[in-house]
Amino acid sequence: MNAQERKKQRIPTHERKPQRRKKDFFEVNLGYEEAEAVNEAERCLQCTNPLCVKGCPVNIDIPGFIKKITEKDYKTSGEILKQYNYLPAICGRVCPQETQCEGACIMNKMKHFQPISIGKLERYVADWNREKTDSKKELNISKAVNKKVAVVGSGPAGLTAAAYLAERGFEVTIFEALHLPGGVLVYGIPEFRLPKEIVRHEISDIEKLGVQIKTDYIVGRTITIEELRDEFDAIFIGIGAGTPRMMGIPGSELIGIYSSSEFLTRINLMKSYDFPRHDTPVRVGKNVIVVGGGNVAMDSARSALRMGQTTQFSHHDTYHPNHVKVVYRRTESEIPARIEEYLHAVEEGIEFHWLKNPVEYIGENGQLKAVKVQHMKLGEPDDSGRRRPVPIEGKFEVFDVDTVIEAIGQTPNKLLLESFPQLKLNRRGTIEVDQNLMTSVEGIFAGGDIVTGAATVIEAMGAGKQAAKSIINYLSDDSDSHHQK
């Protein structure tokens, strides 16, 4: 392969071997070495009208940060990233770049060329800055504007809104219901895909901007909406899509059936992979079925696989591979999961069963023993544009199984919503907002999954940023008359 040929292909990142990595919760992807990052950055054509920027929900100056990598000026590169995105080490790891920046990259239109590996470069720069730069760096915070904003929820939407506002001189307090900040970044996405140390670091950077994070604070309970409105000039609600949707089929109460939310919360937030050093257990049988085809299903399946292995955290000294199947009611081409996550799951030995849908759980003495699945075929396209799965009459199959994890989506968490009946909801139960992300109540804004239904980290961040801009406009329109009483 000559140099020209080589430039067509992206430089792959290092990944731990499936046989090795499936035994522990350490990160799968190891990212680039410096020379590789520079070589990959040099592939970038530095378009004058970059399509990648339009493909990014927060419109990062992608050619700009990549240019600085070619100059080995990683510090400036990191500063460019942080102008647009407060969580670059996270986005570099979990964004679906293939449908966003990388999907828009001009190189896709050129025969035999692969798009620039933008996500992995973002990760490289963010990691370099985390490891190499002085944490006491000078912060670029505007003069205080004497306005207080409450942010409800410390997930990607809330963190982004808070950081954007704090940088512009607003006094921001984040209220988080759980004992740790981060939302889905800490309870949902597993360690092997997003190390929690990185989440902690990026959140501490946001705290350095002056954002105050109050954990154990359940808005609607620990503090009422009225109290918040009295104390703050504006409120941003970014509470995510927090309640699991479940199949609700016969046998759902048997022991061994989890929602993906419970399963992943036990493992990620409560660190039950490190039981008994952490007190919260999780029970995973030898035969596991995960229902669903999204990223959460992949995370659940790969976590279940790892729970059966010897890990350095475990006191077990024997090797007990779990058998994990994913059943999905459509086919491989309809799965919503990122291709990278799906391929990782396949490499690790997860079995995929397409066109099957559980219809009954069968138990013995209260414990799940088997799952009856209905065989499906694809019919006409539905609202999502994907072909609708329809049951094939009379065609069933029974799998012996100890554990089922249902990863079939989320609905809005009603805890906050029911304590705030003035908020207008749309027919899906999510919060209705105008084009500025203001809710039906003046001065109260919302964004992320609680508005759109379950989506991605970066889309939530985009919404957080947009809401922050709207809040600034709203509060600068007319200084004091907006103060909520």
Partner: protein, 287 residues
């Protein structure tokens, strides 16, 4: 926020009565609600009913040591702080006005009925109370409750306090004496709540039971605490914890409470190996 322990009393063998500084929770708590506490950052999230509140400054919880995390909690003394405390969670009790009410508490569940009784009295209800426990040593809050309730019956398994028998014997005795109630509460071990509900059902009596399935977040996020009431799935943490016991599927609840019995034995095993405290029972369940 520092959730400092302001007061600590051993209420019974293996049961502790503590006051925790938590002004924001104390000022918002209502009867029937609970908090989730963590003794340290590696703890389980333990749901505990708020037994009382004081001048909007502190909350009182009474807990039984049932495993590793509650043992860690028991190690904390006055002046120490819990690592986390979140609440108030759950729906408050539905308190009527000017009615005849019956409130039953069993074991550590007696802690949960104290605020219910107080609130019922504030709303002009007549309150008859039945307290039950294994023996005199395990009977908690007797004097406090006698002071506020209109009438208090005591039952113990061995007859060392009150009458020998079960709280359901007390219920039957009241009904046989011609007593009639408009609403009842029963909080205690699941099996006690089940049998109280069966007796209440015979007498067409609304009976609120505070369900105690295993929980994690307590905010409706995980779905682990799902229970079946009137053939519909409910989340005890956000829809409850109080449900009309006549319509609760008790067998499902009791089965789901056993989910982690195996891991608890394992934790005990590790205790012998590595000095970690033993865990005999599930800790995720509401006390």
């Amino acid at each position: 926020m520092s959730y400092t322990i302001l007061k600590k009393v051993q209420a019974a063998p293996n049961e502790y009565d503590i006051w925790v500084k938590a002004p924001q929770i104390a000022s918002h708590a209502k009867a029937g609600q609970f908090v989730i506490v963590m003794a340290d950052e590696n703890s389980e999230r333990i749901p505990l009913t708020i037994a009382d509140t004081d001048k909007k400054e502190a909350i009182r919880v009474i807990y039984q040591v049932v495993g590793t995390s509650t043992e860690k909690l028991a190690q904390l003394n006055v002046g120490d702080a819990l690592s986390n405390c979140a609440g108030p969670l759950g729906q408050p009790s539905e308190i009527p006005e000017g009615k005849q009410t019956l409130v039953i508490g069993g074991g550590v569940g007696i802690a949960a009925i104290l605020t219910i009784i107080k609130t019922l009295k504030e709303k002009g209800n007549h309150v008859t109370t039945i307290l039950g426990s294994r023996d005199r040593e395990h009977l908690i809050l007797e004097n406090e409750i006698r002071e506020i309730a209109d009438e208090t019956l005591i039952y113990t398994d061995d007859g060392s306090a009150g009458k020998k028998g079960l709280v359901t014997d007390g219920m039957n005795a009241l009904f046989e004496a011609g007593k009639r109630f408009d609403a009842a509460w029963a909080v205690g071990p699941t099996i006690m709540m089940k049998f109280c509900s069966l007796v209440a059902k015979e007498h067409d009596l609304l009976i609120w039971t505070s369900l105690n399935p295993i929980m994690i977040d307590g905010t409706g996020m995980c779905g682990g605490c799902r229970v079946k009431v009137k053939d519909t799935i409910k989340y005890a943490c956000v829809d409850g914890p109080e449900f009309d016991g006549r319509y609760v599927d008790w067998d499902i609840l009791m089965n789901r409470q056993k989910q982690y019995s195996k891991e608890e034995t394992e934790s005990e095993h590790v205790c012998k190996l590595g000095g970690i405290h033993p865990s005999q029972s599930k800790e995720g369940g509401l006390q």
